[in-house]
């Protein structure tokens, strides 16, 4: 079943690269949205929740870890799956963000196969 996806990253180029990699992974989303930081992501979510969010950690204004906490405080977004996509590979950071409510973690550099592995349980 096609679902909705939001990519949250402060780099427009990285958002395009992620979108391209998602397509290469063979996963199809009915609706895709983009946001440049946590604040923008929350604004876009208020217009309608999405099924899956791919979220960078280091972003200006509101970073990915703060965004996860905010999203998890809002009951309307309870079913939204959040996968972090970051160069950050420290076990402590990964454990913290997972404890705050993220559903998965993809470390950059990534492959289409990695997206397929992490996203397909939430898409199919």
């Amino acid at each position: 079943m096609a679902k909705s996806l939001m990519i949250v990253d402060d780099s427009a180029t990285m958002r395009k690269i992620i979108m391209r990699t998602v397509r290469m992974s063979g996963l199809n989303f009915k609706r895709t949205e983009e946001a440049g930081n946590g604040v923008e992501a929350l604004e876009k979510l208020s217009a309608g929740p999405v099924d899956v969010m791919l979220v960078d950690i280091n972003m200006p204004e509101m970073n990915g870890a703060e965004l996860v906490k905010k999203v998890r405080e809002i009951p309307a977004y309870k079913k939204t799956k959040i996968i972090m996509v970051s160069t950050e590979s420290s076990q402590e950071v990964i454990e913290d963000v997972m404890a705050d409510g993220a559903d998965g973690f993809i470390i950059k550099p990534f492959t289409p196969e990695k997206f397929q592995e992490k996203l397909s349980p939430f898409v199919n």
Binding site: S11, M14, T87, I107, K108, P109, T111
Partner: protein, 169 residues
Amino acid sequence: MIEQAVLGDALLQGAKEVFETMVFMNLEESSQLDPSIDGRALLGSIAFKGNLEGSLHICCNALCAQAIAVNMLGIDSAEKINEEETCDAMCEVTNMVMGCFKSKLADAVGDLEVSIPSVVRGRELKNTLGKGASKILVKVNIADEYVGELSLLYRNSPEQPSDKPGIDK
């Protein structure tokens, strides 16, 4: 103590991983004696601090940077890419190489805090970290077509206790 060769290897292996996985270009240590970067160049930089402090840099000419951006974005022609996208792609490559470098050295030097990457453009670009800093320079061949430079400027952190890992030159 971690040796300088280990840092150089982590830098090269990190760059190889990023170029193979995300840039779809082959990157190898250059066997030429002294290849130089011709013309206008782009220099991607990112700073780090922790038990080590310094900065990591990737430098190549404008044509190579454009090819990197074209490949990362999956665009069929270099004409469709603008300067901002090229710089952004260089920033992302620098950021990811730093991520790989940091991950490979995590056991030896502990966690490193990193800055936001930046890119400067110009000719004969040089980087420096001031007095007491060491430099590792790895010349590379990208896609058998372009010359590039990976460099690391660093010093042991002043706050580093004597029993913490450090660098052995």
